[in-house]
Symmetry: C2
Subunit: 458 residues, 2 copies
């Protein structure tokens, strides 16, 4: 008998899972219906700032696989512009609303995959829902923003929040020739990077012409007579703004599933086991809407990131299809490039380590992306967070000119199964003058951390 899988959310996690399930079970065995609120499937949301900024020309370039391809090649019944409005776990049904016609349909399921993603954190200030205030989660969001740029020719934009997306969007606006005010409640941009490295980031943003308002809260968004945003009132005065972009981060979009009775945990993420199963038999969840296990803190957290969503989707799909796979957890690895600066992290920052109960010993080194004498050598700064006494690696952060930040993956790999900085300092990494100094910056950073751990013993 044919069983039916209903997938709610047709982007990274949802369509990875659907594809994977299809690879294992044919259409006669498994019917797959995927509901997607937006117009696109399987797109690279992380690419939106580059599309808005102009480095990527076309919306379609961000789409890994279009709905019609899923339909024709994989017999997946993808329904775009269709929103799941409720889930009944007892009746095992989902209500799907066609957003154009308003028609609703009740769909029965044998398996349900919740992959509803994340939604931008909207600060609870008056006017936050006004016209001209943009989130950047979906291609539709990006399109709306680009349409506004085209139609309204804004001169000034305010970006609220200086996290990854906030910084990338601030840069995108600058590249479009728009003046940018960046408002951040915390005293520094990119709070996921430790304060001692964060100064370099602020400097790079200022050099690019972004006006930083740090330690400043957005208090209200004012609109003009046409209802379009006109200014942002902050704790430090009013900023004229033809456009507001929310860079205040994202949180798991788990409301629909939670309303149906599925439990949520860290940061509101849906609780799943290692196979992406929720506690309800046949009901699965994957991607930004779930919580994930952090391998260093050994506690759940939630992280909205495409690469994690894809991995979880794949795991869910394998299991859904009758296979066996487990998601091994995350390290909190992330990288970005803003205003010519590469910024990366993995594991725990200094304060995060303390919050998790560790006593961290930290050290920071400055080195070079290539042999110092080799053309194109650039400065790279690495902070290593190690555990007191043991020297166990807890995390690393990198601020680099071009060509340094991807080294974070070596730290991530080192963290994966655990290593002491004393040992990390002598790992056989590759060396040639166009690629690194004779001691790779990773090794130098580990050695200095080992020295710091030893000095801490005295």
């Amino acid at each position: 008998m044919t069983t039916r899988l209903v997938v709610i959310g047709g982007t990274a996690a949802g369509m990875s899972a659907a594809s994977q399930a299809r690879r294992q079970r044919g259409p006669d065995d498994l019917e797959i219906v995927a509901l997607e609120r937006g117009a696109d499937t399987s797109y690279a949301a992380c690419g939106i700032p580059y599309w808005v900024g102009g480095a990527v020309d076309e919306r379609d370039q961000l789409v890994a696989r279009a709905p019609e391809v899923f339909r024709s090649k994989q017999s997946i019944d993808v329904r775009i512009r269709t929103e799941a409005t409720s889930i009944d776990l007892d009746a095992r049904t989902v209500v799907a609303r066609d957003l154009a016609s308003g028609t609703e349909e009740q769909l029965g399921f044998d398996h349900l995959l919740v992959a509803t993603g994340a939604s931008p954190v909207r600060p609870p200030v008056p006017g936050i829902d006004a016209d001209g205030v943009f989130g950047v989660q979906t291609l539709d969001d990006g399109q709306a923003l680009l349409d506004a740029l085209e139609q309204r020719r804004p001169q000034r934009a305010t970006v609220i929040g200086a996290g990854y997306i906030g910084l990338e969007m601030a840069e995108a606006m600058i590249l479009r020739g728009i003046e940018v005010d960046l408002v951040e409640q915390l005293p520094r941009p990119m709070a996921t990077i430790d304060a001692d490295l964060g100064d370099r980031i602020a400097e790079a943003l200022r050099e690019m012409g972004i006006k930083l308002h740090l330690g400043v809260g957005a208090e209200a968004i004012e609109t003009g007579d046409d209802g379009w945003v006109r200014s942002v009132v902050t704790s430090d005065g009013e900023l004229a703004a033809d456009l507001v972009v929310l860079g205040t981060g994202a949180k798991p979009e788990s409301r629909l599933a939670a309303d149906a009775g599925l439990p949520t945990g860290a940061r509101g993420g849906l609780v799943v086991d290692r196979r992406q199963r929720t506690p309800v038999d046949g009901v699965w969840a994957a991607g930004d809407c779930t919580q994930v296990f952090h391998r260093v803190t050994q506690a759940p957290t939630a992280i909205a990131l495409g690469t994690i969503a894809n991995k979880q989707g794949r795991i869910a799909g394998i299991n859904l299809g009758g296979g066996y796979a487990t998601f091994p957890g995350v390290l909190g690895t992330a990288v970005t490039k803003v205003c010519g600066l590469e910024i990366a992290r993995t594991g725990l920052g200094e304060q995060e380590a303390r919050d998790a109960g560790f006593v961290p010993v930290c050290s920071t080194v400055r080195s070079s992306t290539r042999a110092a004498y080799y053309p194109g050598a650039r400065s790279v700064t690495i902070k290593v967070i190690a555990e007191r006494h043991t020297g166990r690696l807890l995390g690393a952060q990198i601020i680099s000119e071009e060509g340094g930040a991807k080294r974070i993956d070596v730290f991530a790999m080192a963290l994966w199964n655990g290593i002491d900085v004393q040992e990390l300092a002598y790992v056989d990494l590759s060396y040639a003058p166009p690629f690194s100094p004779v001691w790779d910056p990773v090794l130098i950073a580990a050695r200095k951390a080992a020295d710091a751990v030893a000095a801490d013993e005295v």
Copy 2:
């Protein structure tokens, strides 16, 4: 009472050890005499091809620390142009000859560190010692070659051997406007890279204008009336040559120590324990002249590479100075860039794995250095060598356009403590469009390898 350390060889391993020993013990406690046959100390031999090719302007740029700096800052009695001609392990003396004056001096030692490096393999063909035949081990070698370029304005050069140095030197000659014939006995260049990837390398060399003679042996070097090289006779005919460069690899230069009675092992490298001790009390060895433990084969080998020499030197210096440190072994990691192609490897190649007794399962994937839609995305090809049944990672090789090869370090780190490709496929590596596709090429390669291991079970 002051004890004396005599160091034979004043480059990577020797001076790392001397510096490290000095950091731990003051001049009143430990006298350090370092003997160096050449004119320089602590230089980047790996940078010589870039100096010869013109990317690096000055010889001095390759010198990390000059003899006078060691003398003045660290009270290390560096004697350049001074060769150790014999060691008496019973009398605990070394004979040092001043190469300019011919004067010999007998030096007693309490500790002796042998760091005599590697010497280029000189194929046993007639004329191999003729004028105009150059090795590329020392700055003096590089200088001699540059002097010849200046004085003789050669039109054609033959490079014998297509290993790392051979390829880098062939490119350097091309950059100097010289026609290059590259002669290699094996059927492909860069034999340390598996044949299926090696084709791309040959293609890149040809595109750069290098004439490849593969499967061709050099049989004799002919000289003109002035005694300078005139041509290279090969198994496939005679090649006119105004210059010959040896790229035939290097072997441990252990003769002096072996003559004194120190045991040698793999490839003629001196036998040392994990603390860099030879079997003779107070006699140490480090760098290219030693054998090293390979963590994947669990057997000794010998690898001439500056980064390993520096690490071993540091370990030796710590132990010499009364501290405690052990060298953890190598993975055979290496990287180079030739003719626009980045080439890297770690662990075992397919045949090496078989030779070591493994049954390898291999897979190769092509991916992209950045998100495909992000400007500057380049092609990267990765081969993964895994163990049958277990999926244990045994090695990886990368051929890449700009920006891909340093990912070899992630594989190296993964190999370090052992991981299965099944697990490697889900490691939390960093992702952002300027840095990688949503599945990093490392993860894609591991996943395909895991698929290959699974398919092999059927």
